[in-house]
Symmetry: C5
Subunit: 87 residues, 5 copies
């Protein structure tokens, strides 16, 4: 999973119906010393994450498995909110 | 999903038949401060996106799920047009 | 799909039998202002592409779908020859 | 698989239930001359790996196969501890 | 597939049982003018590749297909030894 930070959200009216009902969060993938690694993706939120929270993001078919919806067009999902990380 | 911008389109006559009937759009993946992140892909358009619009792009098997065509050779699809994004 | 350019080919005698019979083309992924993005992959050719032609390359399980061979070890396939691209 | 180094762990209380019971390890992907390649991911530990150990990390649907749990939202798993690597 | 070069191997005693019996080779992905592209992965060898040989590496679910073992945790496999490549 990616270690990521929620930095915003996206509003999209014209979209595939299977995306309806999900919050679409913009996250950046956290680099080594917490500088953003510049990779940005949009993930659906499955655990109630909020702005500036650090989260776990699952991608690809594992994101669809998280949704329990094998026919979903979604390829990234927030699957956990991080309390702390120790390095 | 990728946050991306439609920058053009591709015309291809000699192609796998399953690609027929789709608009083939060139998109760039949006970087952090909106400079292009230089990653460019071609995605089929499923929601009527136009040039210069910001879109959501789903990749891999999730793109095939969006097409409802598990045997498709397509690995990237535009699945939403972005009204706004707040960071 | 990747927007790519055919730059050469590979000859491999000792290989998994499922690769037999396919032309193995070296392609580079096209960057923004047509400078190579330095990412190089080998894709099987499914549409008769030739050297220096611009092509569409599908990757991962979508490449296997293009082959109509779900048990294939192939993970990249040329699925279209590009007539033109407008940006 | 990635050649990676365990550099820490993550604690997450609010998460998808399928993540419960797994140690969530932060790993960095080892670059060429052992300097970190700055790519960091979180992988579940399946072999009892500890901090500073070099490990093999499997990603995507192969990580779910390692868990023997096709419906898992997990997309990265530590599948081996490295005794030595010779280059 | 990646165009890669075998640069070493890995020894791992504590690993998922499905990895047992395979040679675990370290490969680097070949960049444009043969300088290493710094991306290193570990792939199981399916064709008897040796050190310093150039090889074709298949990743993700295609690697599992090469093994004919859909439940394998392996996500990268050497599927061909390269006799020559012309650019």
């Amino acid at each position: 999973m990616y270690l990521a930070k929620v930095v915003g959200n996206v509003v999209s009216t014209k979209k595939k119906e299977e995306l309806t009902g999900y919050k679409l969060m913009i996250v950046t993938i956290v680099g080594s010393d917490d500088e953003k690694w510049e990779k940005r993706i949009v993930a659906v939120d499955l655990v109630g994450a909020g702005r500036d929270e650090y989260v776990l993001v699952s991608c690809g078919s594992s994101a669809r498995a998280a949704l329990k919806h094998p026919e979903s067009p979604i390829d990234a999902a927030i699957v956990g909110i991080i309390d702390s990380f120790a390095e």
